[in-house]
């Protein structure tokens, strides 16, 4: 039962207020993309034991989608940020590197 802070309304959301939307920072592939690229976009997902970036929606709250960086094993949350982000904010990446020196970065 995670608690994540919604970066829009600032509420510390109980997991029951949230809806998970799977892996964050996927790049959409549309018409004209290769079969391999499209398959990867639809189905290939990271499932790491460790640092992970996820989509969450404050579904039973302000309704906004946001992104979260957390450790899937220790449940440590490195930060949440707005869904309108191409990549994780630098300060969150720094925080992860400080705490997880072995982290190889996003796949």
């Amino acid at each position: 039962m995670l608690i994540l802070t919604c970066p829009y309304c600032g509420i510390h959301c109980d997991e029951t207020e949230l809806a998970n939307g799977g892996e964050a920072h996927l790049k959409r592939e549309g018409p004209g993309s290769s079969d391999d690229a499209f398959e990867a976009y639809l189905f290939d997902r990271d499932n790491p034991m460790g640092v992970h970036f996820e989509r969450w929606r404050h579904a039973n709250g302000c309704g906004k989608w946001f992104l979260a960086a957390r450790d899937t094993v220790t449940m440590e949350v490195f930060g949440t940020y707005k869904a309108q982000s191409i990549e994780p904010p630098a300060e969150i990446v720094e925080r992860i590197r400080a705490k997880r020196p072995d982290w190889e970065g996003r796949a």
Partner: protein, 999 residues
């Protein structure tokens, strides 16, 4: 035989006798008794039968770890099976029934299983009942289920109330023994919001029973003082009868409070489920004593040494008159002393250790008890009650030994910390060679959102065995929970020096197979030492697999007594160290919790929120038969007195097609999409082009997901240049709105679009049938002529004085107007329509008539023709897919080779040759068989109805090459083996040219 002693019993009140029955026999106990102590006090040693062999079973323990004493409790709406007698508080009039015995507890016909126990080893069911396959369903399973039945399910609805409760605290402390109390005191004094919960009705745990003295006084005094101090703190909350059921991520914990189990029917809720968020959690859950594995350790009268002590001290009950103590540690000597103090006989203490001369042992010898060192119990004599024990050397093979008569055996194999809660969310364990138990590894605690540990253990749960250590550990953990180091004084205790225990997993150590086959590890599931050894021989090296193969620890008690002993036997058999073999996974709840507590208030009318349309009350008053659609309840039909549902549906369809019908369409999803980029956005969301739609016009649209599969459909109306109103399916509005927001917020966040779900802001009434225009004219106020309001157009205006928007759309094939009106006025408009419609015999119709009429027209229904694997092209909806657009959600996916194959199952109409109705979901069979020997399938029915209009069965289905096979007859395989023949026809059964809707 067990008896109630003349005096003693710190928890009972002898001035308050309570009557109860066990298997209809009247018995008596006292206020403060548990059902277990009352049974023992009434001489009832035999309480149950085991699961597999139906062997006699007695009470083994005195708390949550009890594996045997499960009873059916109560009657009628308060009957509940599998209730643990050791955790059931006695009340006057309690009714308990034994389980798992037939015809009676004393004489169980199934006990013959025990005679053949050598033929029912580990994995017996797996090995024996493999073939023939058909025997499983009709022979093996029913017989096994009958033979292995546990409690019976209740037959009546639960008479009690349950509730959920939310709590937010700085520190949650689980366990109200002296460790929990000490930790609460320290954390409470630091000003933290503290919640302390204890699963039993009493504070202080077992310290008072064990003769602990604190600061020179009996533990009871310190406990009472500490409770008083805690109760005086406003920041501390105490809850007895509240078990810590489970720990979860980020400081979430479940508490299970049993408010009125001991006062049934007093009006209070029975159970309360606490949903707790805590900054820090301290588990002070104590330790559980382990049984010893000797032959016949399952005979009623063989009990844990600590439990024997509990019954004497707490309840004034002697489990036996002559008790032999068997032990590998000093603690069990306390039981011998307690028994002697109570005037009971202890013919011998059997200690596996060669040397036993600690202070407790010396005191026993001084009191005249014979101590047999280096000795073991070879086997227990007796059937339904212990008659004696045969002794032998501890390290021998169990040769003929001396018989010692007794009626109770108190065994102690050492203590295991209760690490369940610690382990629930990831706490790791270490192995202690000193105590032969697993204990929490503080360096690998469960961690929270900040990456720091949020759970710690205190007292015996940490592996502290002496009360002085317990209190020091608890003070330290209580302080750490509020971010401090403990610096105050510690209470002084009278700890007695204890000699090291000596692990013994099989007794005697060289026991021959005949003995090992009578040494029980799991009393409830009849798992013996020989079973685990056999599993190891057969290659089960993993403790998780051995558990499932032998059913060790899979009973109601979840292995609280059996797990450590079982995995020690496994590790010995494998020749590996115990920590290498590891434990099975600890999962919540710690003890079973009631389904009622999980459901809480969500039951009957409050099971889930009910969405009501503005006309809901009218539907109910009109006697509508309601069906759930999402969280809505919609009229399925409006049966008249004496009319069946099918007859009502047929009447509604005919009346609508002949003259006039009306439908409450308020549940239809209504989402406004607005902004300069609204058209561009809808072009991506729908397969067809919405940006070219003119204001004042409507267009049917299909919505797919990125996988290309059809997700939702509906009519889009363009309200003005930058505003669209998207109608969705009744059940799909919230999902579609969420889908829109997902793409707007996460992909096209620079597009200027705003969406609002207005589903509940408007009531919607469909007026349907050849007389629809006449009724609209009669209502008056707007021009509804073909010229002013053509098919697929909409207008805004006033109808019968109501502000409305009228859409000329049809889901029935008839002339049809859908009128949207502000929700607050919808009922008034409904009444006005009914009044004016009387002249045309207007007939309200329900969802089934709606379905029949749409099927007669060959219109698809999301959820019938679609199932998440169907693309629009499968349904012949190519006309609604834009060829001109570069992109829309699902377009790329629909270009995949599998989606473009020409043998995909496609939509057709189906008619049985005899006019009957095809069963729903039925498959058409083709030539040949698949790899599993089943007939190949070539299609299936997706919608099927009796058409009152056509007077025959009509259906829609998906068939391979379907549209190219018009007129062909297919065979459909019914579940009874029959083949039903149906012809492929055009899916539009009624008015194929659409003349009726376009007048």
């Amino acid at each position: 035989m067990s008896i109630r002693l003349e005096s003693g019993g710190r928890l009972i009140d002898r001035s308050k006798p309570l009557g109860f029955t066990f298997d209809t026999n009247p018995m008596q106990g006292y206020a403060g008794d548990t059902l277990a102590s009352a049974l023992l006090g009434s001489g009832q040693v035999l309480v149950n039968r085991s699961y597999k062999y139906h062997r006699p079973r007695g009470i083994v323990a005195s708390g949550a770890e009890e594996p045997n004493a499960l009873v059916g409790l109560g009657q009628g709406g308060r009957f509940e099976p599998d209730q643990r007698a050791t955790t059931t508080e006695l009340f006057d009039g309690l009714i308990a029934m034994s389980q798992n015995a037939w015809p009676s507890l004393g004489f169980d016909a199934m006990a013959v299983n025990g005679w053949f126990s050598s033929m029912m080893p580990a994995g017996f069911y797996y090995k024996t009942f493999l073939w023939p396959r058909s025997f499983w369903k009709h022979v093996y399973e029913p017989v096994i289920r009958d033979a292995a039945a546990s409690g019976l399910p209740p037959k009546e609805p639960d008479a009690d109330l349950y509730e959920h409760f939310y709590a937010f605290v700085d520190v949650l402390i689980v366990g109200g023994g002296i460790a929990g109390l000490q930790a609460a005191l320290v954390a409470g004094r630091a000003g933290a919001r503290v919640l302390l919960i204890e699963q039993t009705a009493h504070w202080g745990g077992r310290a008072p029973v064990d003769g602990v003295e604190i600061d020179g006084q009996p533990a009871d005094v310190w406990i009472a003082d500490t409770i008083a101090a805690l109760q005086a703190m406003e920041n501390v909350t105490l809850r007895a009868r509240c078990m810590g059921a489970g720990l979860y991520d980020h400081g979430f914990a479940l508490g299970y409070e049993r408010l009125s189990d001991h006062t049934p029917g007093d009006g209070r809720p029975r159970h309360r489920l606490w949903k707790i968020r805590a900054g820090r959690i301290v588990t002070a859950t104590g330790a559980i004593e382990r049984p010893l594995s000797f032959a016949g350790n399952d005979v009623p009268g063989v009990m844990l040494a600590s439990a024997v002590r509990d019954y004497v001290v707490n309840f004034g009950v002697a489990p036996g008159r002559r008790t032999v103590v068997v032990t590998n540690n000093d603690d069990a000597y306390r039981t011998a002393l307690v028994l002697i103090d109570a005037g009971l006989e202890v013919p011998a203490i059997v200690d596996v250790r060669e040397r036993s001369d600690g202070p407790l042992a010396r005191e026993c010898v001084r009191r005249g008890v014979r101590a047999e060192t280096g000795a073991a119990v070879m086997k227990v004599k007796g059937g339904k009650q212990v008659a004696g024990v045969m002794l032998c050397r501890a390290n021998g093979t169990g040769g003929a030994g001396a018989l010692l008569e007794c009626d109770c055996v108190a065994m102690s194999g050492g203590w295991s910390p209760v690490v369940h809660l610690w382990s629930h969310c990831g706490g790791k364990l270490l192995w202690s060679d000193e105590y032969a138990h697993f204990y929490p590894d503080p360096s690998r605690a469960p961690t929270g959102a900040d990456g720091a540990p949020f759970v710690s253990t205190a007292g015996a749960a940490s592996g502290c065995m002496a009360s002085g250590e317990v209190l020091a550990d608890a003070a330290e953990k209580g302080a750490a929970a509020v971010g401090a180091a403990y610096s105050g004084d510690l209470p002084q205790t009278n700890d007695i020096e204890e000699l090291p225990m000596q692990p013994v997993w099989v007794m005697p150590t060289g026991a021959l197979p005949e003995l090992r086959a009578k040494m029980f590890l799991d009393f409830q599931n009849d798992v013996k030492v020989s079973d685990v050894q056999l599993a190891a021989q057969e290659g089960y090296e993993s403790v998780e697999l051995t558990k499932r193969y032998t059913t060790l620890g899979m009973a109601n008690d979840q292995g609280k007594l059996s797990n450590i002993n079982g995995l020690a036997v496994l590790s010995q058999s494998l020749g590996e160290a115990i920590p290498q073999v590891g434990t099975t996974t600890f999962r919540p709840p710690y003890q079973p919790i009631s389904f009622g507590s999980i459901a809480g208030e969500a039951r009957g009318g409050t099971f889930q929120p009910l969405r009501r349309t503005p006309m809901h009350d009218w539907h109910e008053a009109a006697g509508a038969y309601l069906e759930p659609v999402g969280h809505w309840k919609r009229p399925y039909c409006y049966p008249k007195p004496g009319e069946s549902h099918a007859e009502a549906v047929a009447r509604e369809v005919k009346a609508t097609r002949a003259s006039l019908g009306m439908l409450d369409a308020s549940t239809l999803g209504k989402i406004v999409v607005k902004g300069p980029d609204a058209g561009r956005f809808l072009d991506m969301l729908y397969t067809n082009k919405m940006s070219t739609l003119k204001p004042g016009r409507c267009r049917y649209g299909l919505m797919c997901n990125e996988n290309g599969f059809l997700m939702d459909d509906g009519v889009v109306a363009r309200l003005d240049d930058d505003t669209f109103l998207c109608h969705t399916t009744s059940g799909g509005a919230d999902h579609v709105h969420g889908h829109m927001e997902d793409w707007l917020q996460c992909e096209w966040w620079d597009w200027k679009v705003w969406t609002v779900n207005l589903t509940e802001q408007y009531g919607q009434i469909a007026i349907v049938g050849p007389n629809a225009r006449k009724l609209m004219e009669s209502l008056g106020g707007m021009d509804v002529s073909k010229e002013a309001l053509p098919f697929m157009g909409w207008v805004e205006g006033e109808l019968a004085g109501f502000p409305v928007r009228v859409y000329r759309i049809s889901f029935s094939g008839e002339l049809s107007y859908e009128i949207a009106v502000p929700a607050g006025q919808a009922r008034a408009l409904w009444d006005a329509v009914l009044a004016d419609g009387a002249a045309f015999g207007i007939t309200p119709y329900g969802t089934e008539a709606l379905h029949v009429m749409r099927a007669e027209k060959g219109f698809i229904m999301i959820g019938d023709e679609t199932d998440g694997t169907v693309i629009p092209q499968d349904l012949g909806l190519d006309w609604a897919i834009s060829k001109k657009k570069d992109d829309y959600l699902g377009k790329r996916a629909q270009e995949r080779s599998f989606m473009t194959r020409d043998d995909r199952w496609k939509l057709v109409g189906l008619e049985t040759l005899d006019g009957s109705v095809l069963p729903d979901g039925i498959y058409a069979v083709g030539e040949g068989e698949n790899a599993n020997g089943q007939r190949n399938t070539i299609g299936r029915v997706t919608s099927t109805y009796h058409s009152p209009t056509l007077g025959k069965g009509i259906a829609m289905g998906l068939v391979a090459h379907g549209p190219e096979r018009m007129g062909e007859v297919l065979k459909f395989a019914a579940t009874d083996g029959a083949m039903i023949e149906a012809r492929i026809v055009d899916p539009v059964f009624y008015d194929p040219d659409g003349e009726k809707q376009n007048v």
